[in-house]
Amino acid sequence: MLAALLLAAAVPGAQPYRLLGQGAPDFTLRATSGTNFRLAEYRGRVVVLAFWGSRCGQCGAQLGAVNRAVNTYQSAGLEALAVNVDDDPVAAARFAVAHPVGFPVLLDPGKQVGRAYRVDNLPMLLLVDRGGTIRWAARDYKSDSEAAYLAQVRTLLDE
């Protein structure tokens, strides 16, 4: 029992996400395109925040899933921002070129936004509702994760 608890405490993503139900911290970051994007400007729309790194094995698959959802639900009010937390912006840009998506890919080399959102595992996916509250979090990505994530997206879009 104790061993299981210790293991749960040691595995990133095993504990409940602390910011769930709280207001999403606002930020402005520069995208790989050179344009700056601010989260607060998306108020009134459901936003997917996808934190990723270029050395993360599942990040490409997750970004692809988010891209599919945005293509389908953008007209209903879904937006996405991918936030890269690499130290090296060049590696991030290279990864972004290899995995093209139709939404802004933001760079957070100083990791201020990563710290504000308590990113402890990659890939990490957050859903922010139309009022700016973090409503759902996933701190890993498996093959069956997409269905659960899409169900949450639909629920938030219907609100």
Binding site: T28, L29, N36, R38, E41
Partner: protein, 203 residues
């Protein structure tokens, strides 16, 4: 061969005056120009609506009053918080404004006071557009003691030919007792086809 019976039409003709009589009281309550035969079935619903309206209106007025109280309270608390955190005798505020902007597309402003970075802001296209439309942004609000101080502002963006462009502006000022307001102003110098950056006392 099928014959249509005249009985339903006859019953309808007989019942129509009765329906009109039944509808008369309702018609006096709601002087709408609806035919009595139509008003008759709507009368109970209209009466129910008329009974519910004053209650709903009172509730709505109460909600609006509570909302207004909440907004007033929030404003008072905001003013109180600012007065406590930034007392008038030490308060320093720095504002940013833009004029025209043909020769400079704003991207970042970094503000340093006495060689210490106190603010850095990345501007989205919407924010830059708001500034160009006459908006003024409060970039920094803080406290400074009485004496001499130096403010340095670094502006980054795209220059007249779309190239990366960074310029700085510096001002030394003496802080006396009382609030100090400074303005960072970005404007176009038409004669030189260059942007101009200045820091001046808020007027």
């Amino acid at each position: 061969m099928k014959h249509s019976s005249p009985l339903p039409a006859l019953l309808l003709a007989l019942l129509a005056p009765l329906a009109a009589i039944a509808a008369e009281p309702a018609a006096t309550e709601t002087p709408a120009a609806t035919p009595p035969a139509v008003a008759a079935p709507a009368a109970p619903a209209a009466a129910a609506g008329a009974a519910a309206t004053p209650d709903t209106r009172a509730l709505d007025e109460e909600i609006q009053s509570i909302k207004k109280d909440a907004v007033d309270l929030n404003r008072d608390l905001f003013v109180l918080e600012e007065e406590l955190l930034f007392p008038a005798n030490t308060q320093v505020a720095v504002f940013l404004s833009m004029d025209v902007g043909d020769f400079f597309a704003l991207d970042t402003v970094e503000l340093r006071i006495d060689d210490k970075q106190v603010a850095k802001h990345l501007y989205t296209p919407r924010e830059a557009e708001a500034l160009l439309k006459g908006g003024v942004q409060r970039l920094y609000l803080g406290n400074l003691k009485v004496g001499n101080h130096e403010v340095v502002a670094l502006f980054s963006g795209k220059g007249p030919q779309g190239q990366d462009y960074t310029r700085g502006a510096t001002v030394k000022f003496e802080k006396s007792v009382g609030a100090k307001y400074l303005e960072l102003k970005i404007s176009d110098r038409q004669a030189k086809h260059q942007p101009e950056f200045e820091i001046r006392d808020w007027e």
